[in-house]
Structure formats: structure tokens, C-alpha cells
């Protein structure tokens, strides 16, 4: 073989290794449900995206291996690599939506991609599940019948963090809150709510945007924090931004126990580089970490230990792994609900929408799934596609996470009217927008 041919062979192998489409499923069965996963294991955000992709993939694979799928339907699971890029995300959507008799749901794992897919969902009749991210206003189910963002919106989460701060050090009134965020659609999403709460509750907001090119070079941003001395810092970071921010905060001696991250700024991969220096940092969460749940033990037994996962056993149970897994729990439960309501085994996207809208993950059901105590009960309704469910705060110990608050609810009474106003604003220039009436 000539050197040129060898090089071409290696190149082809490398491209396959990072390939756009990675199948991890058995051959298509007669009764099947097709679930394309928009994931990112490559690029600047792979640090956050990889464990989530592993969790997403492994729970669904475990259901195939342990139960033969859901309700007699084999799950066909395919990953499509988006690189956290909206354009690639849309390409993935368009190239996969018609495969295997049609996709039943999309989980973009990117607010940017979610924003692109929201208008496509009613046309293609494939629901979008943006679990705890995306456009907050899609919680208004009457306006957005095809998009779901349970268990809570970004606005709910921000209100919960402010609510927590309000219980500390004499309350939030008169305080200065710094908000450092990735300067993309995701990071900017909670700003309207934060600014409204600042007016309503009497605190000052200091905005610190971090461009994608500056994710790993934040020294001047944190020197601004040092100059302005905000009483609390809140972070909406992602990917390489998170570990850098935590290191820079430690560098300027910012008190870590007054630094709270969104639930996408609380992975083990985010804190491991800082290690002890990150001790005291908190982040929001809506599920447990660790592997002490029968369902996760089943993942280890049926998937990871059999070499069917890309994750190593020691990363199972990490925060982002469990986040991806929880997303798949919602998918699976919605499929089960859809099958029960419609009587179809091989459900369609429209059936899945019904399943998501009637999702009722009660404490009893969680126990049946082997996930008792893993998360709070989650219920989705026609009116409320998010639910403003309770969340809690976890704190970094230097090597892991500890819960430091009880579960507590966001400020639903303040947030819901703003969500409804935002939903009206979204559809104001879209006369043909499809809505629904909820009873």
C-alpha cells in the first residue's frame, strides 16, 4: 500500500471516528420508535456535551437491553453530531426527521438549535423537548403546543436562585447581583426576567457577557467583578467557559459560597480543573447525582459493563451524565404515556406530543422506574409545558457535590405573567401561528 493510500485510509478512519451520524441501535424492528439524539461530542462544548450524550444514550439502550424497548416497541436511537452549532443542528434535524418511519421527538440540547426548531415542530408534527432550557415562553402550552421545557424554564430557575439569595445575608434588596453569561442566545435568555426582578425586588444587576472566543480568557471580565464587588455572582456558562470562570473567580478571591451557577454550570467536568479552589461554589439542579438508584445500576449492568456505552463506569452518576439520563427518562415516560392513551405501539410524533402533554412522573411512578428520590414529581399539562417544578442547590466540596438546600419552588406568581406576555410577543408577528385551546 502506498503512503498516500495509507494516509487516505487513516483520514477516512478519523472522519468515521468523529462521524456525523453514529448508530447505536439494533436493526429496525416491526414495532419501533425512532429517537434521533442531537448531541455534541466534539468541538468547544464537548466537555459538557459528552456526558449528557452518554446519559441520553445509555438509559434508552438499557431499556432495549433489559425490557426489549417500551411497551413492545424497540427503540431506534441514533446520534447526530451538532457541535452545539445551530446550523448543524438544523441539518441534523432535516436529515433525520424522516428516518425509520419518522422521528417522534427532538432534544436539541442547545437553546440556539431549539429556537430554530420551534417553528418547524408544528409543521412536521414532531414535538421538541428542551428539558430545562430553550425559550422560556414555550412553557405556555396554549401558544406552543409542540414544545415542552419541563421541569422548569430558565426564567423559573433564575427566579429560584434570586429567591434563595433573598433568604441569605438579610435579603436581596439593596444588593448588587453580578450576572456572567455566555454571550449567545442561551446566556441572554434569562436577562429580561432578571432585570424585571431587579426592579420588583430592589436590587442592582451587573451584566458581564463572555464571548465564545473569550471562554478561556476571562481575566478582564473577572477583574470587573473585583472592581464592582457584587454581593452575589450568578453564572449562565457552558462548555469551556465554566471551568475558566471558576478558576478566575478563585483568582480574584471571590467568595465561592456567593457564586451560583445555572444547572448547566454544575458538572463534574466544570469543577474538576479547579478542584479545591472551587470549594463552596453552588449550582442549581433538578435531579440527584450518584449511582445509588436501581435504574442506574441497571444501566451499569446492561449497558456500561457490557461495553455498549461510550462512558466509563466511573463517570456514570456524574451530574451531566445523570442530566442526560433524566432527559431520556422523560422521553421514555412520554412514549409510555402516549402508547397508553393512543393504543399505538409504534407511536408517531403527534402521539408523542400527547404523551408529553400528559406526562405525570409521580413519586410512585419514579419508584416503579427505580428512581425513587432521583427527582421531584414532574407533571406537564396543556396549559403549562414546564411546570415550575421545585429545584435545589448543590455545593462543590472540592471533589464532588453536596445538596445544600431543600427542594424549593421558583417564583411562579411572578414568572408566569411574564412568560405569557413573552408568548404573546413571540406570536405577534406570526398570524398563522398554530395555537391550541386548553380546558
Amino acid at each position: 500500500m502506498s503512503l498516500k493510500k495509507l494516509a487516505l485510509g487513516v483520514a477516512a478512519a478519523a472522519m468515521l471516528g468523529s462521524g456525523l451520524l453514529a448508530s447505536a441501535t439494533p436493526a429496525q424492528a416491526e414495532d419501533s420508535v425512532y429517537i434521533p439524539l442531537l448531541t455534541y461530542r466534539t468541538g468547544p462544548f464537548a466537555g459538557s456535551g459528552t456526558p449528557i450524550a452518554d446519559g441520553l444514550h445509555d438509559y434508552l439502550t438499557m431499556l432495549n437491553e433489559r425490557d426489549g424497548g417500551i411497551g413492545g416497541a424497540t427503540l431506534i436511537v441514533e446520534e447526530c453530531e451538532t457541535g452545539y452549532n445551530a446550523q448543524k443542528g438544523v441539518e441534523c434535524y432535516e436529515s433525520t426527521k424522516g428516518n425509520h418511519n419518522g422521528a417522534v421527538v427532538y432534544n436539541p440540547f442547545s437553546t440556539g438549535i431549539t429556537l430554530q426548531l420551534i417553528p418547524k415542530a408544528p409543521i412536521d408534527q414532531i414535538p421538541i423537548l428542551s428539558m430545562g432550557y430553550g425559550l422560556s415562553a414555550t412553557a405556555v402550552g396554549a401558544t406552543f403546543p409542540w414544545t415542552f421545557n419541563a421541569p422548569a424554564t430558565y426564567w423559573s430557575q433564575m427566579s429560584a436562585i434570586i429567591k434563595y439569595i433573598d433568604t441569605q445575608d438579610g435579603g436581596v434588596s439593596g444588593k448588587k447581583i453580578g450576572f456572567i453569561y455566555l454571550d449567545v442566545g442561551y446566556g441572554r435568555e434569562p436577562i429580561p426576567l432578571l432585570e424585571q426582578l431587579a426592579v420588583d425586588m430592589g436590587f442592582e444587576v451587573m451584566l458581564v457577557p463572555v464571548g465564545v472566543k473569550e471562554m478561556q480568557s476571562q481575566s478582564s471580565h473577572w477583574l470587573q467583578v473585583r472592581r464592582e464587588k457584587p454581593d452575589w455572582m450568578i453564572m449562565w456558562g457552558w462548555g469551556a467557559m465554566n471551568p475558566t470562570a471558576i478558576k478566575e473567580a478563585a483568582k480574584i478571591r471571590y467568595p465561592m459560597d456567593h457564586f451560583i451557577g445555572v444547572w448547566w454550570s454544575g458538572g463534574n467536568v466544570d469543577l474538576n480543573p479547579a478542584g479545591e479552589d472551587g470549594t463552596g461554589y453552588m449550582s442549581a439542579n433538578f435531579h440527584a447525582t450518584g449511582t445509588d438508584f436501581p435504574a442506574i445500576q441497571d444501566i451499569l449492568t446492561h449497558v456500561v459493563n457490557k461495553g455498549m456505552s461510550q462512558a466509563s463506569a466511573d463517570t456514570v452518576g456524574d451530574n451531566y451524565y445523570n442530566r442526560g439520563m433524566m432527559n431520556s427518562v422523560l422521553i421514555a415516560e412520554a412514549i409510555h404515556t402516549a402508547q397508553t392513551i393512543t393504543g399505538n405501539v409504534s407511536i408517531s410524533g403527534a402521539d408523542m406530543r400527547v404523551g408529553l402533554e400528559n406526562l405525570n412522573l409521580s413519586e410512585e411512578r419514579l419508584a416503579e422506574l427505580g428512581l425513587a428520590g432521583f427527582t421531584n414529581a414532574i407533571r406537564v399539562t396543556c396549559e403549562d409545558h414546564a411546570g415550575a417544578h421545585p429545584i435545589y442547590l448543590q455545593q462543590w466540596t472540592g471533589s464532588g457535590w453536596n445538596a445544600v438546600s431543600d427542594w424549593f419552588t421558583p417564583m411562579r406568581d411572578r414568572v408566569r405573567p411574564l412568560l405569557e406576555a413573552a408568548a404573546v410577543e413571540y406570536t405577534a408577528d406570526k398570524p398563522d401561528w398554530q395555537t391550541q385551546t386548553c380546558n
Binding site: 451584566l207 473585583r226 475558566t244
Partner: protein
Amino acid sequence: MELLYGIFVDPFVQMWEFPDLLVQVLWEGFVSGTLYALIALGFVLIFKASGVFNFAQGIMVVFGALSLVGLYAFGVPAYLALILSIAIMGVLAYSVERVVLRPLVNQEPIILFMATIGLNYFLIGLGEMIFGGEPKTMITEELGLPKGAWDFEMLGGFVSIQRIDAAAAIIAGILVGGLAIFFNKTRIGRALRAVADDHQAALSVGISLNQIWRIVWFAAGIVALATGIMWGARSDVSFALSIVALKALPVLILGGFTSIPGAIIGGLIIGFSEKLAEFYWGPLVGGSIESWFPYFLALIFLWFRPQGLFGEKIIDRV
């Protein structure tokens, strides 16, 4: 009026009132500047030798750092992993010359540029296949690099010098100085300049084009590895590091594509100016100006010196 005050008065009042912060900003700018200079040097070396803008320089930073932490994760002792990583950059240099550059001798520069784009994506795929896409922690302590900070109570506040940043600045300075001497004062350096001027003329006087290319790609690889170690220690080792390499573009515009002193001075100017701009003037326009300010500055320089601060003026006879 308020805007004019914010632009022309308030930043300087702040510099006067909080001199400790000014010193801190300047230090951060200096550290970033030396690292930008190091990245830019990698581009300059290859451009001088082959007239190619190496699009893959950023991913070489990632690949070098990933090789080091990856080998360590496979159980190789830290210093041996460092030596092997240098060897890997050598193998990469040899392979690039043999497989990519040699078949393209005397092709248009744009063809060679396109080849480096291909190399970039190949290295991304290869890196992800071997080491995975998840971020890794740089083996700072294992390499004997310092941890912690020196805090100086001074100027009414404090100035914090991270030891790793100081080490980065010193190592970058030694590398930049060493390479500058090597390429300016040695026979290979003169051969490099001959190749840069005219490939065929250099070949006609007995200079081995292939050898020169291997040497500069290897030097650029070592520079990339050093950059990856230092920047990786400041945050983490991930594919996001390749984005940092984009900061070398305004450095090159400023310093010129063919000048080693230009890369050094350009790097420092960009480092200082972006930190000062973000810290003192950024809040006026909502922040995050560090992303575009270096390019803006480079454009201003282009008006006055299109060839860069130290670039060679191109004169074509008509």
C-alpha cells in the same frame, strides 16, 4: 456628554484611583500577550518557510496538549510523556512535509492553504478518535510547574500574580527568544529566509526544501505544544483551545506575517490593548468587546502600514 466622559475621562480617573487594578490588568495583558506571541510565532515560522498560512496551527495547540495529557493518562510518566509529545510533533512535522507539502511544491499558496484546512479537520478527527472530546486537566504539578499565587499588598489594594502565569510568561519568553536567535543567527535561519524568498532559487543553491519545511513545522509543533501546556493549565485542555489560536490573526496583521519580532511586539500590543479595552471601556458598550477589539485595532494599523509593523514592504516592478 456622559458618553464622552465615559470614554475620555472616567477610565483614566479609575486608573488613578485604583492603581492596583491597573497593574493587575497590565499583568494579565502581558501574560496573554506573550502567549498570543507564541501562537503567532508558529504561524510566522511556517509562513516564512513556505508562504503558507497554516490554518491547522490552532488544532496543533490542542493536539500537542492532548498528546501530553493523553499519554500521561495511559500511564506514561509526566516527563517521558512530554518527551514523547515532542516526538509526536516531530512525526507530525515529517508526515506533513512528506504527505501534504512535498506533492504540492510550487503550487499556488491558496492550494497549500487549502491543504492546511484539510490537515486541520484531519487532526480534529484523529485527536477525538484517540483522546476523546471531553476536556482534560493539564498535568501542571506533575510537570513541576508552579501552583498558587504571589499576592502583593500594594497601591491601596493587592496584585495577584499566578505562579503558572509567571512561568508561562518566562517559558514563552525563552522559547520566543531562542527561536528568534535560531532563525536569525544560524545557517538554517539563513536557509529559511532563502526558501521564503524563492523556492526554486533556494533549491538551485543546494538548500533542501524538504528539510527546511520539516524543521519549521517541528519548531511550530513545539511552540504549539508549549502554548497548549500553558493555556491548558490556565483553564483546561479541550478543543476550545483552538479558538484561542484565532487571536493570533490580529497579532499577525499587526506584526506582519514574516517577522518574528513583529509576532512578539504584535502579541504584546494585542494582549495589553484587549485587556485594557475590555476592563475600562467594555462596560460602556455592554461588555464583551475583547472578541472584536483586537481586529478593530489591527484594521486601524492596516490603514497606515498594510504590511504590518515589521512586515516587508512588497514592491512589484511594472
